[in-house]
């Protein structure tokens, strides 16, 4: 019985089918908001309001020819997209949306799971670097190098800003952090600076404008994705979509007070809060232009990291006063 339930969880609800449906819905939402901000229509005709457009894109990619470069490392080249999708799907299991009891730690919710989640979410960057490296073409090598260079910029501010609310709540467990802020919602306001920094760093992690240098279309053709085609590219696209959901789920759990209310209401809160964060991400995407790789690193270390440290100071001072 328990095995059946686990299989059901893995395949249907917090598992693949739910992820597939929800991440394509989030991609649709992002594209529609981006288009409306630019006074265009966005996806319109596939399905009602174009909801099926990302699904149609993935199905189309699955049907295309798969080309592997001659000098590429075949095993690694073929395995990386699958591995990437597996990693971000695992990240979703740690979201405090379902199947947890705040009092009792379990497999999907334990002290320290915020650190595990941040670590799992930094793996896709390495996977993208490896993807660029094993493709052995000029453009993908440059793309891979840029992916790693960018990681030196945004990882530290992201970690620092996410740790702020954790310190304030006094726990390293996502479910407890969310629980803490659900009971004291006013304490979310001092964390606003951290929220802004985390949203900008999430944009950099997801490699969207202004930080989409690694796969900048007009400069290095496809960057890390240049040599990928067909099914592997479809899996990479699905990986970026699920990464978006996982990242915004993390931010919603830490900064926006989590997803209270059990199974159905929790799911509704999850949808609402992650769509809000994705709206902010689309807004930043529409508002700015791409910046150069050296400017990313200097921007991250000159502005983001000091502000994140400042946020930590504020949190520590507040904790001292409130105590």
């Amino acid at each position: 019985m328990a095995t059946l339930k686990t299989i059901l969880y893995l395949l249907v609800y917090p598992g693949f089918i739910f992820l597939f449906v929800y991440s394509t819905l989030c991609e649709w939402f992002d594209r529609k908001v981006y288009a409306r901000l630019q006074n265009r229509m966005g996806p319109t005709h596939t399905g009602r309001f174009g909801v099926l457009q990302p699904v149609a894109d993935i199905v189309k990619l699955l049907a295309k020819e798969d080309v592997v470069p001659e000098r590429a490392d075949k095993t690694l080249f073929n395995a990386l997209p699958v591995f990437g999708l597996a990693v971000v799907s695992t990240a979703m299991l740690l979201m405090p949306v379902w199947h947890f009891d705040p009092a009792v730690p379990s497999f999907t919710s334990f002290p320290g799971d915020i650190i595990v989640l941040l670590y799992i979410l930094s793996l896709p960057t390495l996977i993208l670097f490896l993807a660029g490296w094993t493709s052995t073409s000029f453009f993908s090598t440059i793309g891979g190098a840029r992916v790693l260079t960018m990681m030196f910029g945004y990882e530290v501010p992201l970690f620092l800003s996410v740790l702020g609310p954790a310190i304030m709540a006094g726990s390293w467990r996502l479910a407890e952090i969310a629980h803490f802020f659900q009971h004291k919602p006013l304490l979310l306001l001092p964390n606003l600076l951290g929220f802004v920094i985390a949203v900008i760093c999430l944009q950099a992690k997801l490699e969207r404008t202004p930080f989409d240098i690694p796969h900048a279309e007009t400069e290095i053709v496809g960057g890390t994705f240049t040599e990928y085609s067909g099914k592997k590219l479809a899996l990479f696209r699905l990986m970026t979509d699920v990464e978006m959901v996982a990242g915004s789920g993390l931010l919603a759990a830490v900064f926006l007070g989590g997803f209270p209310g059990g199974l159905v209401l929790g799911l509704v809160w999850f949808v609402v809060k992650t769509l809000f964060i994705i709206f902010l991400l689309s807004l930043i995407r529409a508002m700015t232009s791409r910046i150069r790789i050296d400017q990313v690193v200097s921007f991250a270390w000159k502005y983001l990291a000091p502000l994140a440290v400042l946020q930590l100071f504020i949190v520590i001072l507040l904790k001292g006063f409130v105590k």
């Binding site: 908001v33 288009a35 409306r36 901000l37 630019q38 006074n39 265009r40 229509m41 319109t44 807004l283 529409a286 508002m287 700015t288």
Partner: protein, 143 residues
């Protein structure tokens, strides 16, 4: 140097109707002078062949079907036509025998579907008023 200077404009457009026209479900009106596809009014043509000579793309072909009965055939190759309307400008008759309409959705699956043909009898030039030059002479080169 201000941050987010584009933001108010973007947010305002979130609530406006998109600027895109949902073609092909909705179509845009083309203005009256639009140069679409050329066609012939066969009852007015005097077969001076000015249009055939002046066409930059050699898209007009006039051939004689029967010399005695003065029957001619004009074929307009719409796959070669560049829609410049020079044929209309070169046509010397009043009213003009070559005309251009406003149709632009003329794609077909094969170039042979794009040829239009008219078989007609050569028209007689109506007598002109004696004073004033007409536009039917002097345009023709003397080759």
């Amino acid at each position: 140097m201000r941050i987010a200077v584009f933001l108010p404009e973007l947010l305002r457009h979130l609530f406006k109707k998109p600027a895109t026209v949902d073609y092909p479900f909705k179509k845009l009106e083309v203005p009256p002078g639009f140069r679409g596809t050329p066609f012939l009014h066969p009852e007015l043509c005097i077969v001076c062949r000015a249009c055939e000579r002046d066409c930059p793309a050699e898209a007009i072909e006039i051939s004689t079907l029967n010399e005695a009965d003065k029957k001619f055939r004009m074929i307009i190759h719409n796959d070669r036509c560049i829609h410049c309307a020079q044929c209309v400008d070169s046509c010397p008759t009043t009213p003009k025998a070559m005309d251009i309409d406003r149709k632009f959705e003329i794609s077909a699956f094969s170039r042979w579907d794009l040829k239009e043909q008219w078989d007609f009898v050569k028209a007689v030039i109506k007598p002109k008023a004696p004073a004033g030059t007409s536009s039917a002479d002097s345009e023709r080169p003397t080759s």
